[in-house]
């Protein structure tokens, strides 16, 4: 159960970043397209809310004076998938990118309020530390132009001062690929260029890359919008498994997808957090009229 962590505790402790032990350290189940046999690990899990990971307090973001996110307060727990839904241009992606401080890269962006990661203000953490703990998967699969192995190893290397040798990080890379459900498909040749993979495989590689350093939060910005339905299904299944170890925040325009993968749903409209609640509540008995119209397809 703790094999990865145990293996590295003594021998390599200086050149490999410490990894936390997670549920999925138990022998993994490969996720492959079309495989749908009964498996307790892949049964839909009841939402078991874990510890609070992220806590947003009155977060507001402006782009050059134009408000994009208006005073959003909510909390994000491990063991849950939180879906941010809403029409385009309503601040979902901006809010998501605030959680790992990528909005800071936009010079015109200004922020008020605070975000706590396990009780620490994220703006007090060094950006590299924060982003290793709050990982992100983008809309477009964007593997780096290097081998599959190097893509996953990229996140693991250089966190340590000394560059770890391949032998030391290989188990971690394989573990991440397994958890992303990609290992069985690429195990023959990990040195293949990542750009030769299909779109769905590339996106799973990006997930593997993001979860390799064992982050506490995984941000996903419309991770399936560039993928075909089968790859989408594989990734949705994967999200269901990953949430046991991570707090997952996913931005999606696909309401059916939000309904399938999310435990909590937050509906954003014009920068406001209009409604926040469990998936069943938001979809079946929304409180706000805006939410009701949106989930019924009246606008957006």
């Amino acid at each position: 159960m703790h094999f990865v962590a145990d293996k590295f505790d003594g021998e390599y402790e200086h050149s490999v970043p410490p990894v936390r032990t997670i549920v999925l350290d138990r022998p993994p189940v490969p996720v492959a397209p079309g495989v749908r046999e009964r498996n307790p690990l892949r049964e839909p899990l009841p939402s078991t809310t874990g510890p609070e990971r992220l806590s947003l307090r009155e977060i507001s973001i402006d782009y050059g004076g134009v408000p994009a996110v208006k005073s959003v307060t909510m909390s994000i727990h491990q063991g849950e998938v939180l879906a941010l839904i809403g029409p385009s241009g309503c601040g979902k992606t901006t809010l998501l990118r605030t959680l790992n401080r990528l909005t800071e890269l936009t010079p015109s962006a200004a922020r008020a309020g605070e975000v706590l990661l396990d009780g620490d203000d994220i703006h007090q953490l060094p950006d590299t530390t924060l982003r290793a703990r709050v990982a992100m998967v983008f809309q477009q699969p964007n593997p780096f132009p290097m081998s599959i192995f190097d893509n996953v190893a990229f996140a693991l290397r250089e966190q340590s001062r000394k560059r770890p040798r391949r032998r030391e990080i290989e188990p971690l890379v394989i573990d991440a690929l397994r958890r992303a459900g990609l290992y069985e498909e690429v195990r023959d040749d990990l040195d293949r260029p990542a750009l030769r993979l299909s779109g769905g495989q590339q996106q799973r590689l990006c997930i593997a890359r993001a979860i390799a350093p064992r982050p506490e939060v995984l941000l996903m910005d419309e991770p399936c919008s560039a993928l075909d339905p089968i790859s989408t299904g594989v990734i949705e299944e994967l999200i269901g498994e990953l949430r046991r170890d991570l707090a997952v925040v996913i931005v999606t325009h696909n309401l059916a997808q939000a309904r399938r993968v999310a435990d909590k749903v937050a509906f954003m409209y014009l920068g406001d957090l209009v409604e926040y609640g469990t998936t069943a509540d938001v979809f079946s008995q929304p409180r706000a009229a805006r939410t009701r119209d949106y989930v019924r397809g009246a606008f957006g």
């Binding site: 950006d127 590299t128 982003r131 964007n142 290097m146 966190q159 260029p193 750009l195 993001a210 350093p213």
Partner: protein
């Protein structure tokens, strides 16, 4: 009962031609003139290029002997005893190597700064215009500037010194330093444009993995602009190979490669020599050597070099050599 299938092709006949167009003879005179000029200019340039290559090829093959490439030049009143082009050939290669070795780190590092940091913006503007000024300076002016610099007493150890101790400011290192300024702009522009063309999401992906900007540059951006850098290097090399003014003023344009001092390798860098371009000049009817056959042979070798480099640029540009996929 038999079934008869008529062996007829029932598909419509396809043709790729276009429909009838208006006759140019009905056009206005101005339109006709511009069309004519466009065709004539394109074809004319092809003709000029073909003429250069064919004529130099004809002359070159006529006078180029394998022995010429491996014989040192010599002074003689008879054409048949003036030796070969070994020294200029080595001089060209050595000067190119020095120029690129100096230009490469400068150009790539400044391109990284401009494309990835580039703040404050007034400083970035100054850096860009400085490089544009260097790019726009005629090579003879650069050469003159180089003479002024390398004649300074403090830089005397870098260059050739006459018997009496006078500083000439001429050496491979002096010429190479100025050549690096010639090669720098294309290399800088190629690297900068390559970096600017890398999509933002690639950088964000690396930042989102907890990478610093410099780690992103080293591990993600530079590998993905390898082909741009290679193109820039090739362009820089072809500019160095083709330059004459700096050779004449700063390399000494001596018949043989002369060394200075006794330390191996260093004495070569401090020494003087010539390149194919200066050899061609010297042996052209305008120069002192006046051995036109040798000039043609050397010019042909020079042309081959440059053509090969152009071919290489095209190959790299099309991504068939360094494709990362």
């Amino acid at each position: 009962m038999s079934v008869y299938a008529p062996d007829l092709d029932t598909r419509p006949r396809l043709s790729s031609g276009r429909g009838r167009r208006s006759s140019p003879w009905t056009w206005r005179w101005g339109d006709r003139l511009v069309l004519l000029c466009a065709w004539a200019a394109g074809l004319g340039l092809c003709l000029i290029a073909a003429a250069i290559v064919l004529y130099m090829g004809y002359r070159g093959i006529e006078y180029l002997r394998p022995g010429l490439l491996f014989a040192r030049p010599a002074i003689s009143t008879s054409q048949s005893h003036t030796g070969g082009i070994l020294d200029p050939l080595i001089g060209t290669l050595l000067l190119t190597a020095i120029g690129i070795a100096l230009a490469f780190p400068l150009a790539v590092a400044s391109a990284i700064w401009i494309a990835e940091y580039g703040r404050p913006s007034w400083l970035a503007r100054i850096v860009e215009s400085s490089i544009e000024i260097v790019a726009g300076t005629p090579d003879i002016v650069l050469a003159l500037f180089g003479v002024a610099i390398f004649q300074l007493g403090i830089l005397a150890p870098l260059s050739f010194r006459a018997e009496g101790g006078g500083v000439y400011g001429r050496s491979f290192i002096a010429a190479g330093a100025m050549m690096s300024l010639i090669a720098l702009p294309p290399l800088f522009v190629a690297t900068r444009d390559g970096l600017r063309a890398v999509p933002t999401h690639m950088r964000e992906a690396a930042f989102a993995l907890g990478k610093t900007r410099i780690a992103t540059i080293r591990r993600v951006l530079l590998p993905s602009v390898r082909s741009n850098i290679a193109t820039g290097v090739t362009l820089g090399v072809s500019r160095i190979i083709g330059d004459t003014a700096i050779v004449v003023l700063l390399l000494g344009k001596t018949l043989h490669i002369e060394t200075q001092g006794s330390v191996p390798a260093i004495n070569l860098l401090r020494g003087t020599g010539s390149t194919l371009t200066s050899y061609v000049y010297d042996n052209s009817p305008a120069g002192e050597g006046a051995a036109p056959q040798k000039a043609y042979a050397a010019a042909f070798v020079l042309l081959l070099f440059v053509l090969a480099l152009n071919l290489l640029v095209d190959k790299i540009g099309s991504g068939s050599l360094t494709s990362s996929v």
